[in-house]
């Protein structure tokens, strides 16, 4: 704000240099000067300041008294100052006024020495001699600052987008303005620019990986209902054949009547992250699969035995059948019974092979609702194979009506089988009649499902217990040392825990938990 000033007339230029003018027009001119927002300065032909407006005082920080009679170049920094002197000299020699005109952008200097940008317009006062000039100075510091800020934020945004591999776009659905696509967006999509005529989503849709099309279509339908956003991670295949993973978030804005106005979105190129994740996952899957294969390798003798049993029964039934048929006083009921059994035993052998193949098959990890009791039942064939071979009794104590868990059933079987095999191995030196593995399930008060594998072996030595879950730690001559490490990582990936406690009496108990899935299957009577 202006500070209180003495009457305007008191600050007039000295009478010697002031033009002759009527008092009234003098006052009017002064009022004009003081009302102007821009600084107004009048100088004579030698560049001496004659008039200095109120706004000039404000902008330059000088009082009128300080500058009247001074060369106007005090208001200029170098190199303008030198240039100005040259102009004035040229003017005095040639009578040619150079800077007259509008809208030159120059630098000016305040009393405190600081420099600021301004727009300068200079006019020559007509009809007076020697000539005078009137200068209008518009301080453009705020505009410059705003410009600078805008430019900086634009370049920062651009840099941020580049660093984050993130692009954005705005499409005006009412065609009121051209669509905007950020440079990084174009870079992500591997194109020079998005063809304006084609809406981006139409272009993207062409590139969507066939495997993700359904997912994208489903997510896009969200955009049709007001207030919903499109949020989808999908793959696109670019013109050059490369595949990229995009995380695409979009929204449609609407006016009060619900008409669609703008389609706004960001596209994040998450290919690098996904590639790393994919690689890690594939490695983990290969390791898990390898561990399953090696488990089966260790169980080969037991599996051979398990398939040999039905084969022995089939051969024996068939031989009995032949003898029945040759006997003159045969009973057809015996033959029929043998045939029924042959059929059943062939299916039994097939079932062992089917479970084995299921278990070792290299497959995609797939989570689904799993009934743990049913899982143990399915596992029984494989687990008993090993148990029989080592004269171990396998007992299952299942709590009925357990909630289901959301899990990959084969991986869970792998964990249980691994624990059962360890339990069996732990009892190699135990008396034969005491060799029992108890598999039990129960629901914990917190809603988790707990599966326990208990043995009556010699228990865990403290030094073994310490390294138990370390990869490649094994107490077995033929073990890989991966079983428990992988089991624990599988359980953790399912949101559960795996630990061990001493068993009552002798031996060890291995526990693991899994969170119950919200949907509980009705328990099915077996």
């Amino acid at each position: 704000m202006h500070e209180e000033r003495p009457p305007t007339a008191a600050r007039h230029a000295s009478p010697g240099t002031a033009p002759r003018r009527s008092n009234q027009s003098e006052l009017e001119f002064r009022a004009l000067l003081d009302a102007a927002v821009d600084a107004i300065i009048v100088i004579d032909h030698k560049g001496r300041i004659e008039q200095f407006s109120l706004s000039a005082e404000r902008i330059f920080g000088y009082t009128t008294a300080e500058v009247i009679g001074q060369n106007v170049d005090v208001l200029m920094p170098e190199p303008y100052r030198a240039e100005h002197d040259a102009y004035m000299q040229r003017y005095q020699h040639t009578g040619e006024a150079r800077i007259i005109g509008v809208g030159r952008e120059v630098q000016a200097r305040r009393k405190d020495g600081s420099v600021f940008p301004c727009e300068l317009a200079v006019g020559k006062v007509q009809g007076v001699e020697p000539p005078r000039f009137i200068g209008f100075i518009h301080d453009i510091t705020p505009r410059k600052l705003a410009d600078e800020r805008l430019r900086r934020s634009e370049s920062e945004l651009r840099l941020a987008q580049e660093l984050a591999n993130l692009g954005n776009y705005v499409v005006h659905l009412d065609q009121s303005e051209p669509a905007y696509y950020s440079p990084q967006l174009c870079r992500i999509l591997g194109i020079e620019a998005v063809a304006e005529a084609l809406p981006l989503t139409t272009q993207l849709e062409r590139w969507v990986h066939p495997g993700d099309r359904e997912k994208v279509d489903e997510a896009l339908s969200e955009l049709d209902s007001p207030g919903n956003a499109f949020d989808c991670e999908y793959r696109i295949v670019l013109e050059d054949g490369t595949t990229r993973y995009l995380h695409h978030i979009a929204q449609v804005t609407r006016d009060a009547q619900g008409n669609r106005l703008k389609h706004i979105g960001t596209i994040h190129d998450v290919s690098d992250r996904r590639a790393t994740e994919d690689e890690a996952r594939q490695l983990q899957e290969r390791l898990t699969h390898f561990s399953r294969l090696s488990t089966m390798g260790e169980m080969a003798a037991g599996l051979a035995h398990e398939i040999n049993q039905p084969l022995t029964a089939i051969a024996t039934y068939a031989q009995a059948c032949q003898r029945f048929m040759r006997s003159p006083d045969r009973d057809d009921a015996d033959v029929l019974e043998a045939l029924v059994q042959i059929n059943a035993q062939a299916l039994r052998a097939g079932e062992v092979i089917r479970r084995l193949r299921n278990f070792v098959k290299n497959r995609e990890v797939k989570r689904e609702p799993v009934d743990c009791n049913r899982l143990l039942d399915d596992l029984r064939t494989l687990a008993e194979t090993d148990a029989r071979l080592h004269n171990v009794r396998l007992r299952i104590d299942a709590e009925p009506s357990l909630p289901t868990v959301y899990a990959d059933p084969i991986q869970l079987q792998q964990v249980v089988l691994n624990l059962v095999r360890n339990a069996i191995d732990a009892m190699a030196d135990a008396p034969e009649t005491g060799r029992e593995v108890l598999l039990s399930t129960r629901q914990l008060p917190e809603g988790e499902i707990e599966i326990i594998v208990a043995d009556h072996g010699s228990g865990l030595a403290p030094e073994a217990a310490e390294h138990l879950f370390n990869p490649f730690f094994t107490t077995k001559s033929a073990g890989t040392g991966l079983g428990l490490a992988i089991s624990r990582s599988i359980v953790r990936a399912h949101g559960g825990r795996l630990w061990h406690t001493p068993n009552e009496g002798t031996g060890a108990r291995f526990h693991f938990t899994l969170p119950a899935s919200p949907v509980t299957l009705a328990s099915k009577g077996e």
């Binding site: 089939i314 051969a315 024996t316 031989q319 009995a320 006997s327 035993q345 039994r348 029989r388 004269n391």
Partner: protein
């Protein structure tokens, strides 16, 4: 009398199908058969002194075939055992043979192979039982001798002539001849050689 009971094939196998198929095979050849799903069940049934043979699965949870064999030996059972083994069970089969099993057969097997082994086992069992019965009979006959007759018998078996025996026992030769005749009669001996064989048979098993 033991001889009146028909020999039976006892099968102990925890696998229902294998057990049942064996039952049916043995039925098809007209052999009496009894099946058990565990060693304990067989022990509880007290069949181990019956004539017949035992077809025994070497691998079973809980009491294994080998453990049952040990228990039967402790009970002085003479039941011949044929072990059924799987692949790679040779070390266990060797152990079983050392503990007195008559034979073993690998799964899956040809029916004739098994039946041949069963027949051999049944013959062996019948032979053992005959021998046992004979030994018991000889023992009974020995027990029927008077102390003086027993003294005469020992010297006869030792190969001494009547005259020498008379001198040793301070008896008349005539008296020795009478005792000797009574011994031959009580022991139902056809000849001196037969008498000696019977006595040696009993003495050998009593060592």
């Amino acid at each position: 009398m033991i001889k009146e009971i028909k020999p039976t094939v006892f099968v102990v196998d925890d696998d229902t199908a294998v057990r049942d198929s064996l039952r049916m095979l043995l039925k098809s050849v007209g052999l009496p058969v009894e099946v058990f799903e565990s060693g304990q069940e067989f022990l509880d049934a007290d069949r181990d002194d019956r004539p017949g043979c035992l077809v025994l699965d070497i691998r079973m949870p809980g009491m294994s075939g080998l453990e049952l064999q040990v228990k039967l030996n402790e009970r002085h059972s003479i039941l011949p055992i044929i072990f059924i083994t799987g692949h790679g069970d040779v070390p266990m089969a060797v152990e079983a043979m050392q503990a007195g099993a008559v034979d073993f057969i690998q799964k899956p097997f040809r029916d004739q192979d098994l039946l041949d082994r069963i027949n051999q086992a049944l013959e062996k069992d019948a032979g053992s039982r005959r021998m046992l019965a004979e030994r018991n009979m000889i023992r009974k006959r020995l027990e029927s001798l008077t102390p003086r007759e027993k003294e005469v018998l020992d010297l006869v078996v030792a190969g001494k002539a009547n005259k020498v025996i008379a001198g040793d026992l301070n008896l008349s030769q005539r008296t020795v001849e009478i005792h000797r005749a009574r011994v031959m009669e009580k022991m139902e001996a056809h000849s001196l050689a037969h008498l000696v064989r019977m006595v040696l048979e009993v003495e050998r098993t009593e060592e």
